[in-house]
């Protein structure tokens, strides 16, 4: 009894010491979305939606920064969509860095690529699709990642022992497929299902003003094929089907003065048809326009997928143009507008993002997504009445 007490006491004494050794930061935010049209499905019966998010981050390093741990849980509570209400561990990693290598063990997020309208070659993490359409929110991926650092570039090796299924909006959620995609009906090519061990390798380096990344991924496709299924009463739904794929990708950026040239290309097999896809374009920045401190960036990209209409992506033959404003003011105000035009169907997607700091700790973000002219056969048809504007206010600590 005494032993238990003293060990408990010891633990209680130790706990604040551990917590105090590191550093807590993060944010809590309130999101409001207003939809301008009624949805296609009567069960998506809301025009406004509130959501609360909280993402604290614990970080502790020692050994002159050569070893560290990071822990980032994430929670979203959503007013209408039960599937959007979710909990995730974005990061829980141990890192050890040495002169010629870096080892990372645990759950984390990795980004690959250079283009802006679509992150084509980015494949390590599953997209947290209930968060946002832009695919920039990711679920934490368990992995062992060894980076080998050489004069001739860095080779990153990844072993991923557990696959994360994509989260899809629930029945009452907006911005979902029609019919609804049912995560609980997921199917896998591999008998090991989500326990299939996925592997990846990536080489990155820069040569003068050229940055390149060459990668191969073998394992469970993060992006599922959607198969049509039906309940016993005949009502249809979509089944996510996760193939085992091989994907080889290349991403390049050339930084030439104010001009950035960008290219991403991939070759993927194993997901029904073997195919190639590319994203290529530029970003040019006008610095200090009209004798102000404001920078204006102009973006243009072309996106192609040789599966054409049968592509799983909306970017099968699309042109994206955009403009980015950086006000370079005390509040770090920025604005981004973008338009994606489907050359084949004529469908258009308009996107607006802006942000501004308020005081020292608050951040206000505005977002608008609008869909025009999606045809019935378009992938994006099911969200064409889900135009929305969003305000997100967060407190950062």
């Amino acid at each position: 009894m005494k032993l238990i007490n003293s060990s408990r006491l010891f633990f209680l004494l130790l706990l604040p010491t551990i917590a105090a050794a590191g550093d807590w930061s993060g944010y809590a935010g309130l999101e409001f979305r207003g939809f301008t049209q009624t949805a296609l499905d009567t069960r998506q019966d809301h025009a406004t939606n509130f959501s609360f998010t909280f993402e604290p981050e614990y970080y502790h390093r020692w050994d002159n920064g050569d070893q560290s741990i990071a822990f980032v849980p994430y929670v979203r509570l959503d007013e209408h969509d039960n599937e959007r209400t979710h909990l995730d561990i974005r990061e829980l990693t141990y890192l050890k860095a040495a002169e010629n290598w870096e080892l990372r063990l645990g759950i984390r997020k990795v980004f690959w690529g250079v283009t802006e309208f679509q992150h084509l070659v980015d494949i390590i993490n599953q997209t947290d699709l209930v968060e946002n359409l832009d695919t920039e929110d990711k679920l934490g991926q368990p992995m062992v990642n060894l980076a080998l650092i050489n004069d001739w570039g860095t080779v990153d090796l990844f072993v991923m022992p557990y696959f994360r299924e994509r989260y899809f909006p629930g029945t009452s959620g907006r911005l979902r497929t029609l019919p609804e995609t049912r995560q609980d009906r997921s199917r896998f090519e591999s008998a090991a299902k989500e326990k299939h061990i996925d592997l990846a390798a990536r080489y990155t380096h820069y040569f003068g003003d050229w940055d390149i990344g060459l990668a191969h991924f073998y394992g469970t496709s993060r992006e599922p094929r959607l198969l049509l299924g039906a309940e016993t009463n005949g009502s249809p739904f979509l089944i996510p089907f996760y193939d085992i794929i091989n994907q080889t990708s290349l991403d390049i950026q050339a930084t030439k003065g104010n001009m950035l040239w960008k290219f991403e290309g991939l070759h993927r097999s194993g997901q029904a048809t073997t195919y190639n896809a590319l994203a290529a374009g530029f970003e040019y920045t006008f610095i200090g326009i009209l004798d102000t401190a404001i920078d204006l960036g102009v973006l243009g990209e072309y996106h192609y997928d040789d599966r054409g209409k049968s592509a799983l992506s909306i970017f099968e033959d699309d042109i994206g143009i955009g403009a980015r404003l950086a006000f370079n003011d005390v509040q770090s105000s920025t604005a981004l507008v973008g338009l994606v035009w489907d050359r084949d169907s004529g469908g258009q997607f308009f996107n607006l993002e802006a942000s501004r700091r308020i005081g020292d700790s608050w951040l206000l973000e505005l977002q608008g997504r609008f869909f025009f002219g999606q045809k019935r056969r378009d992938l994006a048809f099911s969200i064409n009445r889900d135009d929305y504007s969003e305000l997100f206010l967060s407190y950062n600590f």
């Binding site: 930061s25 860095a97 980004f111 650092i149 860095t154 003003d209 610095i287 005390v330």
Partner: protein
């Protein structure tokens, strides 16, 4: 011919101390030699790290603070390498900026965005733009190499009781926002006490004051703070440094993309 000129130089060198007043060094030569001497005296610190706070003030007196950690590696015969990691404001905490500077060719710069875990190679043409909304332009905070400017000694002058060389310098790198700068260089420390910046229209734009120099490792002078005032907008930005450390043993590895991704 070559032999003759070598001999002439040799004789001239021997006679220089005697002919000091007679030997006509042009103001340009004198400016360059002072700048070279200042550079030589600040060589050999190898690497340094310091915490920097940046207080931005507008005309009305509203202030906003940024905190960051700056690590720098001295590179011989080229520009230095530096890594800046932001700690405040909290919405940009963990954002890191890696710069491999060069004297006259464009710098190599990468930005790490922690929310996306994305490393972005960025254009280094933005020399004249404001650094994080402050009154400092990127070029004001970049590695100061002798080759970046042409020089002209103007006069000797006393500033706040300290003897100074007053030198005018003209940026030679591309995309500078300045036609010229005037430096008041302390004759004892060989460090600037004051800098006037003239914009592209050759109008006085900003003045930078270097405050409270301290000497580290018995050789290297670093100011505790630097105050930049913009005469045209009435805004100002004060930088204050703490925790200066030198010769930590950093290498190129501490300034690569892998380190950028785990910088905090």
């Amino acid at each position: 011919m070559r032999r003759v000129s070598t001999r002439v130089i040799l004789i001239a060198t021997l006679l220089t101390p005697l002919l000091n007043t007679a030997y006509a060094e042009t103001p340009e030569e004198k400016g360059l030699s002072i700048a070279t001497e200042a550079d030589n005296r600040d060589t050999g610190w190898t690497d340094q790290t310091a915490n920097m706070s940046m207080v931005l003030s507008n005309k009305q007196g509203d202030t906003s603070t940024r905190m960051m950690c700056i690590t720098t590696l001295e590179v011989q015969d080229d520009g230095d390498k530096s890594l800046i990691v932001f700690d405040d404001p909290k919405d940009v905490k963990g954002t890191a900026f890696l710069s491999h500077t060069h004297s006259l060719t464009p710098d190599d710069q990468w930005l790490y965005l922690p929310a996306l875990k994305r490393v972005k190679r960025i254009s280094s043409s933005n020399k004249s733009g404001p650094f994080v909304g402050s009154e400092y332009a990127y070029e004001d905070l970049s590695s100061q190499e002798v080759e970046k400017y042409k020089y002209k000694w103007l006069r000797d002058e006393t500033l706040d009781g300290r003897d100074c060389f007053v030198i005018e310098r003209y940026p030679q790198y591309e995309y500078s926002g300045y036609t010229r700068q005037i430096v008041w260089l302390d004759k004892i420390m060989y460090q600037p006490l004051k800098l006037d910046f003239y914009d592209r229209k050759d109008t006085l734009l900003k003045t930078l004051l270097f405050i409270d120099y301290k000497q580290y490792l018995d050789q290297y002078w670093r100011p505790d703070s630097m105050q930049m005032t913009n005469h045209q907008s009435g805004k100002s930005t004060t930088l204050s440094w703490t925790n200066y450390q030198f010769k930590i043993g950093l290498t190129d590895r501490d300034f690569d993309n892998n380190t950028l991704k785990r910088a905090r």
